[in-house]
Symmetry: C2
Subunit: 329 residues, 2 copies
C-alpha cells in the first residue's frame, strides 16, 4: 500500500508518520511506500521495510496536485493548511492554500480516475472552526456550519467538496473535525488558543506560563495521540457507514481551564500549578468565548472513535510521549 | 440608484425586473439605472424614467465579473445558476457557473473596493437544496447543510463565501433559500419537481397534467410573487440584524399533494381536478421523499418575511398574475 501525506512536516503529520512507520500496516495491509509532502521538505525518517519519498511542494501551485496523485496512492492524508490567524491576515493566501489547494487535489484525483478507475481514501483534517457562535450548550451532529473566520469558511467549503466528490464516486472521503489539540508539544506560539497547552506544558517542564482568561473558560480538547488515532481510524473505516455525511465531529473532552489546572495539580503537584501566572487579556477572553465549548459526538462515538475522558489522561499522554515519563517540578 | 440583475432572463429575474420598473424605487431611493444580464441577451423592457441596459454575459468567463461591477451598482441581485439537473449531469459546468461564477463576482466586488470604498448589497438566491435527508420533521434555522446534489453543494459553498466576504466588509450579502416556486408559469418542463406546479397550472388552463407521486407526498412551496417580495426585502433590509449569519431559510407553505388538489378543487372545481392523471413514478417519488418537507423559519419571520398561508392563496396568485383572472375549466 502506498500512502501520501500532504502536510507531513506539521506536528500531527510527523506523529502520523511515526505511527505508520511503527505499525507498518494500515487496515491490515502492509505499507510499501510512504510519500511525505509539505511546503518545506519534510525530514526523511529511516525505515528498512517501507520506501520513503519526501518532497517539497505547494498544492496551490499549478500542476502540483496532478503530479502528487500520478503514482496513485491508495490513501491520502490531506493535513496541509494555512492556520487560522494567517488565513485571517492574508485573505488571498488562505483561500489559495486552504480552498484552492484542496480543490486542486480533489480535481486531480478525479482526472486521474478518468482513464483508469481510481478512488483513493482521502482523510481530510477539518476543524471545529466551521462552527460559530451562538452555540447550543452542546453542539450535536446536525448543527449548522456558521464559521466566523476565513479559515473556518475554507474548511467548511472543503468539507462540502469532499462530500460531493465522494457522492459522485471520484474519491472516498472522510473529513474529521479535530478538537483543539492539547497538549501541543514544542515552543509557545502566538496562536490565541496556545495558552490551553502552555499552561500545562510549561509547568510540566518547570517553566512559567501565562493564563490570559478566567478559570471558568470552557473548551474542547483531545491529545495529539488521539488526533493520530482519529486519522488512522478514518483511513481504515467502512465509509458505507457514513452514508452521504462524510464529515464527522471527533470526540474530545470538554473542560474548563480550572479543570485543566486541577488535573495538573493531581499529576504534577502544587509546585507546577504555582508556575501559572494570571495575566487577563480581554481580547483573548472574548475570542475564546466565541469558540465551541462542548459537543455531543454521537455519530463518531457510534463509529467507534474515542478520546481521553479526563485531563489527567491528556497530561499523561504528554508526559509519556514528549517528556520520557519525567515531570520536572 | 443603480441595480444590477445577473440572471435577469429567468422567470424570477423577469418578474423582479417588472416589479422594480413598476415601483421605480428600492428602499425609498429612486432607481436611475437597471442593468439586466444573462447568458442570453435579456429582453429590454420599456421605461421612461429608468435607464435600462441589457447585456449577454457569462459570469464564469474571465474578466466578465470585473466588467459588470466596474460601474459600481449599489445593489446586485445574483440569480444566475445552472439548474439542479444540469449541474448533476455536467459536473464541470455546474461548478464553473454556480461556484466559480459566483466567486468571480464576489472577488470582482472586493477588487473594485480596493481603490475606492465599495460595498454593494448582494442578494443571492440560494436553495433548500443545501439540505439533504435525513431531516427532522421541521428544519429549523440551525440545521446543517448536507446537500445530496452538486447543485446544492455549490449553493452551500456560495453561501459560505457570501458570509465570509460580508464579514470582512467586502460586500453586504444576504442569501435567501427559496422554497420550491409554485405555481411556476410557462410550459411543463422535465424537472423532477415540475409536477408540483403542473398539476395545478395545466388544469387551470383546461389541460391534462400527470401526477407521478402519492397524494401524501409533502413539500415546501411559495409563489413567484413571494419570491420577488423576498428578493426586494433582502435588498432593503437592515443587514446588521443578521449578525454573521447571512443566509436565511425563506418562509413558505408546507403542503401535501392532496392538499394542493383540494385547494384546486375549491378554487377551480371538480372539472379541474379531473384533469389530473395518476401515473406513479417510483424514481420521482423517491427523489421527492428525500427533499425537505417543512421548515420552522423563525429567523426570517422575525425579520418580517412572509409567504402564502394556504394553497388557495398560491393558486389565486397564479390566476391573477398569469391568467388575467380567468380559469378555463
Amino acid at each position: 500500500m502506498h500512502i501520501l501525506i500532504i502536510g507531513a512536516a506539521g506536528m500531527v503529520g510527523q506523529k502520523l508518520t511515526a505511527q505508520l512507520l511503527a505499525t507498518a500496516t494500515l487496515g491490515g495491509d502492509p505499507i510499501d511506500k510512504l510519500t511525505l509532502v509539505d511546503v518545506a521538505l519534510p525530514d526523511r525518517p529511516a525505515s528498512r521495510t517501507i520506501a520513503i519519498e519526501t518532497q517539497a511542494a505547494d498544492i496551490a501551485a499549478p500542476g502540483v496536485a496532478g503530479q502528487l496523485v500520478a503514482s496513485r496512492p491508495e490513501v491520502i492524508f490531506h493535513l496541509a493548511a494555512i492556520v487560522s490567524g494567517e488565513a485571517e491576515l492574508d485573505f488571498d493566501k488562505g483561500y489559495a492554500i486552504n480552498l484552492d489547494g484542496s480543490r486542486f487535489l480533489f480535481e486531480a484525483i478525479r482526472q486521474a480516475g478518468r482513464n483508469e478507475p481510481y478512488c483513493p481514501r482521502v482523510v481530510f483534517t477539518s476543524s471545529i472552526a466551521v462552527f460559530g457562535a451562538p452555540f447550543p450548550e452542546r453542539i450535536d451532529d446536525t448543527f449548522l456550519m456558521a464559521p466566523r473566520t476565513s479559515y473556518g469558511t475554507q474548511k467548511a467549503i472543503v468539507e462540502l467538496l469532499l462530500s460531493d466528490y465522494s457522492r459522485r464516486g471520484f474519491l472516498d472521503g472522510v473529513g474529521i473535525r479535530l478538537p483543539t489539540i492539547c497538549i501541543r508539544p514544542g515552543r509557545p506560539n502566538k496562536a490565541a488558543s496556545g495558552f490551553f497547552s502552555s499552561i500545562l506544558r510549561e509547568p510540566l517542564a518547570g517553566q512559567e506560563a501565562v493564563l490570559p482568561v478566567d478559570e471558568s473558560a470552557r473548551h474542547w480538547h483531545a491529545s495529539p495521540r488521539s488526533a493520530v488515532r482519529f486519522l488512522l481510524q478514518a483511513a481504515e473505516m467502512d465509509t458505507a457507514l457514513l452514508d452521504m455525511r462524510r464529515n464527522l465531529n471527533m470526540p474530545g473532552l470538554s473542560a474548563t481551564v480550572g479543570e485543566q489546572i486541577e488535573a495538573l495539580r493531581r499529576v504534577a503537584g502544587d509546585r507546577a500549578v504555582a508556575l501559572i501566572r494570571r495575566e487577563p487579556d480581554a481580547m483573548i477572553a472574548e475570542m475564546v468565548e466565541n469558540w465551541p465549548k462542548d459537543f455531543d459526538t454521537a455519530r463518531a462515538s457510534a463509529l467507534g472513535f474515542t478520546a481521553e475522558d479526563s485531563f489527567d489522561a491528556i497530561i499523561r499522554v504528554h508526559i509519556e510521549d514528549e517528556l520520557d515519563g519525567q515531570v520536572r517540578p
